[in-house]
Subunit: 384 residues, 2 copies
């Protein structure tokens, strides 16, 4: 076990914590507040932010899309420069935060900002300081240093990361999730769930703390998400889901662990091609990956069956089958489809995605580097 | 659930990582290397440190005791000033690291350094940067901002903390634990175990992530420690115990959780009075605390019985009894006594400790503030 773990983001968790912006943001900062659609305005979150920051806000930039779009973010960079902004505050979910990270780097880079995505962030030397007010528990972007940007023109959805992009702080107020549509809350749960899986369900490496933490997060999401659909005002459930989603991708369960990430790579192509919600692409791909890679992942699938689903009866094969079926049932019970037909797609998709993966150079995915575009095709064909 | 979590310490984990000091410490730093007894010299750790740092080392300071002594640390502060040291590197376990944190603060404070302990660190405005090479998995000091200092002259063992005292980085090389005497390895396990318990076994607060992480750490320590006594060269066990001990007190399981810490407060008096190893005082006090506070802690004791010891049969009372007995058996099987007689002490100790707690103003301990010196006496009387 060899790893480096470093995460300097300050988490400020709890009801009413937006008022703390006044303490957390330097008094002389020139702040750009970034947000997505109109929900942060409608539900009063932006008003709270404006009140806490006062005249530190020199410009606001709204309209960052789900799957934040490269061209939109470049417009924000121009505004940053025009207003001499020196602090970025993202108010929203993973898309707004990822977009803000890209802006923080693009505003300070000498070369063409597109190079940030081609080089996955390795060329970032400086970045504006950024912080977040999280409104959608899902991606974990509020406590990590990475992001994913889409450029529709190139049908590309590319990730980047750099330690300079850790938020200085993130405010997590579970009350702010109360106005989220059920669909977004559910997407967040599925996204967090698959983040954990990508860092856990590979092959045994003896990392007991990381494994046990991953299993804990999975159990919490499995237990709490259906309860939340039944009791949407239950704040204890919202608190735990919010914190679990942050912990799912803040580097800790992944430190020294063998990682997969092929579900995300295939899912990104589905979003870029057909506009399917990110989380739903993951729920679609994951059961297929497990069916096709069942043998290579057998030991960890069995551990998952035992420690997450408490399956102890039947043969090892039966328990693995049951764990895969339970996972699919879990997604379906949240209203998330796990078949191509649920998204009005058919078997042809498999070829198209395989071609796109090849085009994007994503030809050796997974923990063994053996998820080729052909294997991805096979995975998607199980989803018909 | 309301909390702030911030932990900027970089963890560099794995075999041979001491060589990374060359990258991690600024090239122009004037480093003091601090250590304890002669073991870091004898087992070659100091030689590795010196080689990696080269002429950055301007002075070494050895001889920091277990339960680091105030007067010793003041001598180090004088050396820091004489050599214009600007970076402290602790090579050792919790005592060396805690002592180094105190030195980092004392070297920069205007008032009498004793005020740091009287004010528990709240008066620290600046501190020298510090980092650690951990050789004993136990206290978690390598990834937190607190410490405990002893002043024998006053029979006082006092804690302090300040966010300025987070190590910049900590190198955790599990190989370095191979030369530890079994007694120290065992003490480390018990110390980490009780750190988790102090942040977990109070009353239910609905913090599911924190609870599940705490339970995971307890299960790992319970499973791995006896195995390590049987197979002392098993590196996988050493890796997991080392990382679990760090995670036990880095703020994460305690964020937003109800905390106790009365076991430590009572234990510190036993160490200050009789020189008993810190971890052993904890093993002695804990079962007594649970017997005396069984009712107030019943819900969490039952959760502990279920989730940590997998006890599902029998009445609730029986399961709680069994969990307490299992815990004591766990300590005893590691060779750690849980009775006063194991330390050649008798019932009189109860009165003496109660008096010392009163003298140190520690009269309202525990999660409800109702562990008075009288209750502490009662706890110790169960340990005869």
């Amino acid at each position: 076990m060899n790893f480096e773990y470093y995460n300097p983001t300050r988490i400020v968790f709890g009801e009413g914590k937006i008022a703390e912006l006044n303490r957390l943001v330097p008094a002389d900062a020139k702040v750009m507040v970034l947000y997505g659609g109109g929900s942060a305005e409608r539900n009063g979150t932006l008003a709270e932010v404006r009140e806490a920051l006062g005249n530190r806000v020199v410009v606001e930039f709204g309209g960052i899309e789900p799957n934040p779009e490269y061209e939109t973010l470049l417009r924000a960079v121009a505004e940053v420069q025009a207003h001499k902004v020196d602090f970025l505050l993202a108010v929203g979910g993973g898309s707004v935060i990822d977009g803000t990270k890209f802006i923080a780097a693009a505003a300070e880079i000498e070369e063409d900002p597109w190079q940030i995505l081609l080089k996955r962030g390795a060329n970032i030397q400086r970045a504006l300081p950024l912080a977040t007010v999280l409104t959608i528990p899902a991606t974990g972007s509020e406590m990590n240093s990475g992001g994913v940007i889409t450029r529709w023109e190139k049908k590309a959805k590319l990730s980047f990361g750099n330690p300079l992009l850790y938020p200085k702080f993130s405010i997590l107020d579970p009350q702010k999730t109360l106005t989220l549509p059920e669909r977004q809350m559910v997407n967040g749960v599925v996204d967090a769930f698959v983040h954990v899986i990508e860092q856990y369900l590979t092959y045994p490496s003896g990392a007991q703390v990381q494994d046990a933490y991953a299993e804990a997060l999975l159990r919490i999401l499995i237990e709490d998400a259906p309860k939340l659909l039944a009791e949407p005002k239950n704040m204890m459930l919202r608190e735990n889901i919010m914190w679990a989603a942050t912990m799912a991708l803040n580097g800790l369960i992944g430190a020294g662990a063998v990682q997969d990430w092929s579900v995300h790579a295939i899912g990104h192509e589905l979003t870029a091609l057909y506009g399917i919600d990110h989380a739903r692409t993951l729920a679609l791909v994951l059961p297929g990956l497990w069916k096709v890679r069942r043998e290579a992942k057998a030991e960890k699938l069995l551990q998952y069956a035992t420690n997450v689903w408490q399956l102890r009866d039947g043969s090892e094969d039966e328990r693995i089958d049951q764990a895969i079926a339970n996972t699919e049932d879990f997604f379906n019970a949240l209203g998330v489809g796990t078949r191509l037909s649920d998204y009005q797609l058919d078997a042809q998709v498999a070829d198209t995605v395989a071609m796109q993966l090849t085009e994007h150079g994503l030809t050796k995915l997974g923990e063994h580097g053996d998820i080729t575009p052909d294997v991805a095709r096979e995975i998607l064909l199980t989803r018909v």
